[in-house]
């Protein structure tokens, strides 16, 4: 009489650790639940942020009709558009200069400077800018968007730089050598070979910079002159008052715009060659 061989219920795997999967699934749930609740209540017919009273688009209508929201949204978009454009051009040039090279004098310094905005807490940069810009504003009396634009451009540069540099580093340098060999002048090499090949990196960099500028609240809060609210600083101000689902509606629109840009970024940086 022989014992039947007992099969383990599941195959033993060195990759599974008990409990880890449960915590992981909970974490994914916890990452998305607050956002989904926020989005859900933007469609609430009532004024509550916790009790569902039926589906309605009234808060979207209210936000859209709110002149302060309109103005802040337009300002956010213009600011992000200009800052991301300038930052992307500057970052593209810098990426061309700092990749695919031997060590040249000053390279480390250029690297350090380009990444400097990432190294310092935003609040520190924000008050430093407040100090300097306050001084300039008093001295010149000039209070246009130029302060916001230059501050945003500066912290967008490292974000635009990253994907462009990554793209350049995976690019085959012999393609440019081949173009040179085939009688292309340096400018032709750039316009006919380098630029077309690095486009996906440039677009990815632009989108990243755009999202970063659109999201910024700390630096904007300290640099803006009176009446220069962006969507995030407007929302931050609103939080001090009674919160209605209008905030949720604006948040949902910001989330959707960001999600689209980030998904595009991922798709582009998956590196189709």
């Amino acid at each position: 009489m022989s014992e039947p061989i007992r099969q383990p219920r599941r195959g033993y795997s060195v990759r599974s650790l008990p409990g880890f999967a449960v915590v992981a699934v909970f974490t994914f749930f916890a990452l998305y639940a607050p956002i989904l609740i926020l989005v859900a209540f933007s469609f609430n017919a009532g004024t509550s942020l916790a009790i569902w009273e039926g589906f309605s688009l009234r808060w979207y209508a209210q936000a859209a009709a709110n002149e302060a929201v309109q103005e802040a949204a337009v300002r956010s978009l213009i600011l992000a558009g200009v800052a991301a454009s300038v930052a992307t051009v500057a970052a593209t040039m810098a990426a061309l200069a700092t990749t695919r090279t031997r060590r040249f004098p000053g390279r480390t310094m250029i690297y350090a400077l380009i990444n400097q905005p990432l190294m310092v807490p935003e609040i520190v940069t924000a008050v430093a800018l407040l100090i300097v810009f306050a001084w300039i504003k008093v001295a010149t009396g000039h209070t246009s968007m130029v302060y916001l634009i230059s501050a945003h451009t500066a912290f967008c540069i490292p974000f635009a730089y990253l994907p462009i540099r990554a793209r350049l580093e995976t690019m085959d340098y012999t393609l440019e050598t081949a173009a040179k060999d085939l009688y292309a002048s340096p400018w032709k090499v750039f316009s006919r070979v380098t630029l077309p090949l690095m486009w996906p990196g440039i677009i990815a960099g632009y989108m990243l910079a755009f999202v970063i500028s659109l999201d910024d609240v700390v630096i904007t809060e300290f640099v803006k002159s009176a009446g220069q609210e962006t969507l995030p600083t407007f929302m931050l101000g609103q939080l001090r008052r009674v919160v209605t689902p209008e905030i949720n509606a604006i948040s949902t629109i910001i989330l959707a715009a960001g999600a689209i840009l980030v998904s595009l970024f991922f798709w582009l940086s998956r590196g189709r060659r």
Binding site: A178, D181, L182, Y183
Partner: protein, 359 residues
């Protein structure tokens, strides 16, 4: 010495030093002149400097010292886009964002050729490399062998004075490589362009070249026709790198070399070798073996190992002096009797098959 009009490329005392923690002398005082319409091959192990020499000729690397002449004109200062020299790159370097036809047209467009001429030349080139059907394809959508042809067509389209080929066949499988060797030779004949070909494959070099330069450690060791390189290598490195070799000790006296293991052979010693003890080369296929006592000019040997390899059988022999010797014997249809392992045998060497080496 040839007149300048016969010389396509002349490298004069070129050195290339790559600085760094360990300074690399990639080219060490290299001088070479390459004739017009010649298929010239730079052959050597990886890191010997052959690709660096090619890149210096193309203009991708400035030389540390020395000068470079194209048809008698100093082009050392000319950037690559102004040199009438084109390159077929090792990985082909086809532009992935352009079609096959646009790749081929690129050089012509950069030279500012009129549209009609560009179109006509591209068509000619497509026909030359038999790629007419695929002209609109993206370069990522064609096979490795086809990419190879496009790379060739692209480099040939501007009709350069010199075509540089940097191990262009190394990525292809054996069968395709053999086909492309013949194809390259045909293209060179049809276009009459000087080809400078870089390879580490000795068989490829011997098959295709008019002349071969064997390189090692940044220096050119010997330049000659494939026959000269194979049959009369000047140095042990060259002999060893190309084909299989036996090195034996001998005593040289005028035009006679007497092997230590026995037998005197008429030789043509290279310049700079004086009478006395020398090293000589005997190719395995130039030795023959029979069972029995050695006669005049034969050497006594013991068979140590017998290795069968299809078209031939190689016997590893131990000579009376203790020296090792390999002999390759063609296999006859009947499978004639060969001496077995452990038997005593006699080795004879074909007349003229003993080559005195410089070192």
């Amino acid at each position: 010495m040839e007149s300048y009009s016969e010389t396509a490329v002349e490298a004069r005392r070129i050195s290339k030093i790559f600085p760094g923690e360990t300074e690399v002398r990639a080219l060490d005082d290299v001088s070479v002149s390459i004739h017009r319409n010649e298929f010239f091959t730079l052959l050597g192990p990886s890191g010997c400097g052959k690709t660096t020499l090619l890149r210096v000729i193309a203009g991708f690397e400035p030389p540390t010292m020395g000068a470079l002449f194209l048809a008698g004109t100093d082009i050392s200062r000319l950037p690559p886009n102004q040199r009438p020299v084109n390159t077929v790159f090792q990985n082909y370097a086809l532009f992935p964002h352009m079609s096959v036809a646009n790749n081929i047209a690129f050089g012509l467009e950069m030279l500012g050729k009129p549209k009609d001429e560009v179109r006509k030349t591209v068509d000619d080139m497509l026909r030359l490399v038999r790629m007419e059907a695929l002209s609109a394809r993206r370069t990522s959508e064609i096979s490795g062998g086809q990419q190879q042809r496009v790379a060739l067509a692209r480099a040939l389209a501007p009709h350069p004075e010199v075509l540089l080929l940097d191990e262009p066949l190394s990525a292809l499988d054996l069968k395709l490589r053999k086909e492309m060797q013949i194809e390259l030779k045909r293209l060179q004949n049809e276009t009459g362009i000087t080809f400078i070909f870089v390879t580490h494959d000795q068989e490829e070099a011997l098959t295709m070249s008019d002349r071969v330069a064997v390189m090692n450690a940044g220096k050119i060791l010997q330049i000659g026709s494939p026959q000269e390189i194979y049959q009369r290598p000047a140095e042990r490195f060259v002999a060893n790198f190309i084909g299989e070799s036996n090195f034996l000790d001998a005593t040289l006296s005028g035009h006679t070399a007497t092997l230590k293991a026995g037998g005197a052979h008429e030789v043509d010693p290279p310049e700079g070798v004086s009478d006395g003890t020398v090293s000589v080369l005997v190719r395995p296929e130039h030795a023959s073996v029979r069972v029995g006592e050695p006669k005049t000019n034969e050497m006594a040997a013991t068979v140590e190992t017998v290795v069968y390899s299809g078209e031939a059988t190689t016997l590893h022999l131990r000579l009376g002096t203790g020296e090792a010797l390999k002999a390759r014997l063609p296999n006859s249809p009947g499978g004639g009797a060969l001496p077995g392992q452990g038997t005593a045998a006699s080795v004879s060497i074909a007349p003229g098959a003993v080559t005195v080496l410089k070192d």
